[in-house]
């Protein structure tokens, strides 16, 4: 079984990336998938004349909610309890896992079916349940592929984006039998055949399992309603069939009112799958008779993020993945290099804030971007990801050699006369600068790029010579 635990001890992002870049199959799969979704998103977003206004509204609603989160969360608790549900508060992953494990144990069951959920991935719930002797079955098609393949999700919305259909066929043929109904004989790699195999495999599970576990896309404070958007209907099976439903939801998922959904139900499908509307939207409030509902409200670092005036905008995220699909770095290295269930640009700002920058990997994430700004442009809740990246770079640790280099550069640039002297030194020894191989950290440049020749004269010297000193 794999999960976030496996991510611990991973090397820094550049090393992971180097390995991923050499995987031609991965590069091909990702290029094809990201460009396809990118194009679909652009066309359906382009249809809406009021996209900019929707985006501004979403930002405003989220900001207002986060500002008064304490109040809205108490409102959620009251509304859910009134509707017959039970509310639990979890400060961190361990506490959340303990709560869920305890709730499952109390039912006497040893199996749960899961709706695709980022929050439960974040806390490593499947691993915690396994330790307690409970098997968690992923029912989202892509999550199923990941689980059967003993693999990690590499995308927020499309966890198996790194796999193509022939790889999926192999995974089904080899591993489906370990988890239940085996793949049919003569399984082809036609999408229809693969979907049918998954349907038959999962259907048995839905009919027999008594406990469901989910997350939620939105949590409405005024009514205590939870909302899940999905494409397959498997989520709805998990949400309706089992006797007990346990939903683990990050505290930033709250929206104040039903009316606010109007904005987000337009933004999310268009930004994520490039659809005008997603096929299944499930909403539930409390529990109906004969069923039990538990809501686990998860902090796990979110309150700390909320305290950072620049970093807190990351909590507006609605997990649409538009930033991943448009990111030139993600497109080339895939999700695993980020060592977190949150990869891509949003992961690069969320993971170091939630987990801190103690590990080499987490400290390297804010640098996993060329700051090209494509992520900010597509973000439906206007998270200025480059701004947060730059902010996190200034608060995180620096390597001593780099610090020295940047300090020296800063000292030179502080005074025009120092810059002038440095330039004259460079032009005097210009013949000594190698074009193909620089020493030290410069080798990272000349590994693939030539060095431009140092000119005979800097611009300021030329100006001074032809125009006189205009200091």
């Amino acid at each position: 079984m794999t999960g976030p635990g496996t991510f611990l001890g991973m090397p820094a992002f550049p090393e992971n990336a180097e390995e991923a870049l050499a995987d031609s199959q991965l590069r091909f799969n990702l290029r094809k998938a990201t460009h396809t979704i990118r194009g679909k998103r652009a066309s359906v977003v382009g249809e809406l004349p009021d996209w900019a206004e929707l985006r501004a509204s979403a930002k405003a609603v989220k900001d207002e909610t986060l500002r008064h989160l304490d109040r809205y969360l108490l409102q959620v608790e009251e509304a859910v309890t009134k509707a017959g549900g039970h509310v639990h508060w979890a400060a961190d992953a361990a506490e959340a896992n303990e709560i869920v494990t305890g709730l499952v144990r109390a039912t006497g069951q040893t199996e749960v079916v899961k709706v695709k959920s980022m929050a439960t991935q974040e806390i490593g719930l499947n691993e915690a349940l396994a330790e307690a002797g409970v098997t968690a079955y992923e029912t989202d098609l892509a999550e199923l592929i990941v689980q059967l393949g003993d693999d990690w999700p590499s995308h927020i919305l499309v966890p198996a984006i790194h796999r193509n259909r022939s790889e999926i066929r192999e995974i089904f043929r080899e591993h489906m039998a370990d988890w239940g109904r085996p793949a049919p004989e003569n399984l082809s790699d036609e999408p229809r055949a693969l979907a049918e195999a998954a349907r038959l495999h999962l259907r048995e599970r839905f009919m027999s399992t008594k406990v469901g576990v989910s997350g939620a896309n939105f949590l409405i404070a005024e009514t205590g309603t939870l909302v899940v958007l999905e494409s397959e209907g498997n989520g709805r099976m998990c949400l309706t069939l089992p006797e007990t439903l346990i939903s683990v939801v990050g505290i930033e998922k709250v929206l104040p009112t039903w009316r606010d959904l109007e904005v987000f139900l337009q933004l999310l499908p268009r930004s994520s799958t490039g659809e005008r509307m997603n096929p299944y939207t499930s909403m539930w409030t409390g529990a109906t008779e004969g069923q039990e509902f538990h809501l686990v409200l998860l902090d796990n670092g979110r309150t700390k993020v909320l305290a950072d005036e620049i970093g807190r905008q990351a909590l507006r995220c609605i997990r649409c993945s538009a930033c991943l699909n448009v990111c030139p770095v993600y497109e080339r290295v895939g999700g695993h290099s980020y060592g977190s269930v949150y990869p891509g640009p949003i992961g690069a700002i969320l993971t170091p804030q939630l987990r801190g920058t103690a590990s080499e990997l987490d400290a390297s994430l804010p640098y996993a971007s060329s700051l090209c700004g494509a992520c900010y442009d597509v973000c439906p809740v206007a998270i200025d990801i480059p701004e947060v990246l730059v902010h996190l770079r200034s608060t995180g640790p620096h390597a001593p050699a780099e610090r020295l280099g940047l300090k020296v550069a800063g000292w030179v640039l502080d005074r025009p006369v120092r810059l002038e002297r440095a330039q004259r030194l460079a032009t005097r020894f210009r013949g000594l600068v190698p074009k193909k191989r620089l020493p030290g950290p410069g080798a990272a440049w000349t590994d693939t790029r030539d060095v431009p020749p140092v000119p005979e004269e800097s611009f300021r010297d030329w100006w001074q010579r032809t125009e006189g000193d205009t200091r």
């Binding site: 550049p14 990336a17 180097e18 870049l21 005036e309 620049i310 030139p328 770095v329 080339r332 290295v333 640098y367 996993a368 971007s369 060329s370 700051l371 090209c372 700004g373 494509a374 900010y376 442009d377 701004e387 730059v390 770079r393 200034s394 608060t395 995180g396 620096h398 780099e402 610090r403 940047l406 300090k407 550069a409 800063g410 640039l413 502080d414 005074r415 025009p416 810059l419 330039q423 460079a426 410069g442 990272a444 440049w445 590994d447 693939t448 790029r449 030539d450 060095v451 431009p452 140092v454 000119p455 004269e457 800097s458 611009f459 300021r460 030329w462 100006w463 001074q464 205009t470 200091r471």
Partner: protein, 258 residues
Amino acid sequence: MRVALFITCVNDTLFPDTGKAVVTLLRRLGCEVEFPMAQTCCGQMHVNTGYRDEGVRLARHFLDVFQGYDAVVAPSGSCAAMVREQYPKLAAGMGATRAGAFASAHGGHSPFAEAVAEVAPKVYDLSEFLVDVLDRTDVGAYFPHRVTYHPTCHSLRGLRVGDRPTRLLQNVRGLELTPLPGAEECCGFGGTFSVKNAAVSAAMCSDKVGNIISTGAEVLCAADNSCLMHIGGTLGRQRSGVRVMHLAEILARTEADR
């Protein structure tokens, strides 16, 4: 109109011909150009690599040097975007500090924020200055070559210069402008990203270069020498035969330069 040239530290040191081209071009269009010699750097490298304090020090110096001009023209979309887009964010971020909080609590803005509000809106990328301020899309240039144009990220998504550079190029006599596939994708330079994540940077540039070569152009043009240094360094290493030129250097050429 008092027009100052903000050459940028990279152009000043490594690409003086771009600066000379800007001076030639602006004078040809009737502008008096001043070059305040106290200028050094906008601070982008420091801020974007995580050395905010050093960056802010350089930003303060920039604001001192360029105060009082009607327009500040930079042949770099990235450095112009640093001043116009990132300086206000730096100023706002200072509100989170105790001194900034004190200033705003007492109804005032910090001197830094005031200087940003005064200077930043007057900073233009070359193409913006030509099209918006001088109202020229035909600058009388002549350049009989096949050219493709890469819109650099910070001019595209920071300054939003839009089609100004290509409108200028379309009006250059003799120039055949050929569209670049995947033009809006980053080339992978990203300042210190190019060495801190050299492998990813190279992979991005590899795709950019493939697209450039597919156009059959002789010249790749952009309005930022940092990106051109990265793409040009790769084109050169591959012996592609495609050369890179800053927009200013193409626009400065006339029939007389033949």
